[in-house]
Symmetry: C2
Subunit: 216 residues, 2 copies
């Protein structure tokens, strides 16, 4: 999700507008990692620069040397996140075998939740707050992609290649089920006992569930 994104190895001395040294890059990463931790837990307004700076091991003014404002840090996180948020669904192949394609999509989403639970919670926080900062992304990019893939799925259902199913609800269900293990990890941990991986068994359960739902 946070695409490492090696910068295009600028010619020395000619860096245009991101002339970042190794230590600068490292501090920016420290800050973003700390900010992800804090924002994903407390939301934008609930997070403080003090917390983020402490978590990053820097002073608050030093943090603000790297990012102009609290908002800038948050925006940087969201940008990285949204950049890869659509990838799993994008890969759903209209030419593939329907049931396998949908199951693979679900697996990619689940793997992403497992690998990047904080990013999932950051996203969840945004939506809970009414999605003020990512409204454009959802109303345009995400919506277009969902409608496109929903048509693909509707085609499969119409052709009898999977059981009849509302494509939008199918997609929402995959989001709900896969993100739940990241977003509600605290609750699952308290119910299954601490030290228990919240994702344990989830893959098998969801494979089984969607295999049953989609079998023609």
């Amino acid at each position: 999700m946070p695409a490492p994104r090696t910068p295009p190895a600028e010619k020395p001395g000619t860096q245009a507008r991101a002339p970042r040294s190794r230590i600068q890059q490292r501090n920016r990463e420290l800050i973003l990692d700390a900010a992800l931790e804090v924002f994903s837990t407390h939301g934008f307004r609930g997070a403080t620069l003090d917390q983020i700076a402490a978590q990053a091991g820097l002073s608050k003014p030093n943090l603000l040397y790297y990012f102009d404002s609290k908002d800038t840090v948050h925006r940087a996180l969201l940008t990285r996140l949204l950049d890869s948020w659509l990838d799993p669904l994008r890969k759903l192949d209209p030419m593939g075998e329907p049931q396998a394609e949908i199951l693979s999509y679900m697996r990619r989403k689940l793997d992403m939740s497992r690998a990047y639970p904080r990013e999932s919670r950051l996203f969840a926080n945004e939506i809970l707050q009414g999605a003020p900062r990512i409204e454009a992304f959802i109303s345009n990019d995400l919506r277009a992609l969902v409608d496109e893939k929903a048509q693909v799925i509707a085609g499969w259902a119409g052709a009898g290649r999977i059981a009849p199913v509302d494509p939008h609800h199918l997609i929402f269900s995959i989001w709900a089920l896969t993100q739940h293990y990241a977003d509600f990890a605290a609750q699952i941990g308290m119910i299954r006992g601490e030290g228990h991986d919240p994702f344990s068994g989830a893959g098998d359960f969801l494979d089984h569930l969607y295999a049953r739902l989609l079998a023609p």
Copy 2:
């Protein structure tokens, strides 16, 4: 969910420690309703008394006349919420018809999400923040109830009355799917178009999904 809870009609002149007049009761309700709106959107730390007071149509000092502190307001909301949070699962009857019981449970949860989306988001916010204020509730009350009902479901599966299924994951899936429509309503609205009821079609989809999953 917010159980109206008619107070035990105290004898006039002898009210022990909740001597609330009609106008007091009404203002308390106004405050709690406003606080639910704000806390469920911004989380505890992201919410401000100014917002809550404005939403309630009262001054901030007046709000603090009714509740000692921000924390007190929040605690009052959580108490009301948790009071009824377990009801749907509690009603799962070990003596009932297995598939019908589980489908009814799912329906009760869905109805609760539809009727009380703000309460669902308040709860989601708490969990996202690591559940600091409701840890005892989850680790004790909720966990015990879940384990108890999971045993019931495991018994049904063992007896071949429903398809074999991991009971904990089954319960988690019901939570995820039903609460999603409340917690992520903003996203669903932006994808399906504003003015579209986020819950529309959800009942049918989930009925179908669990019928397929559980059929022996």
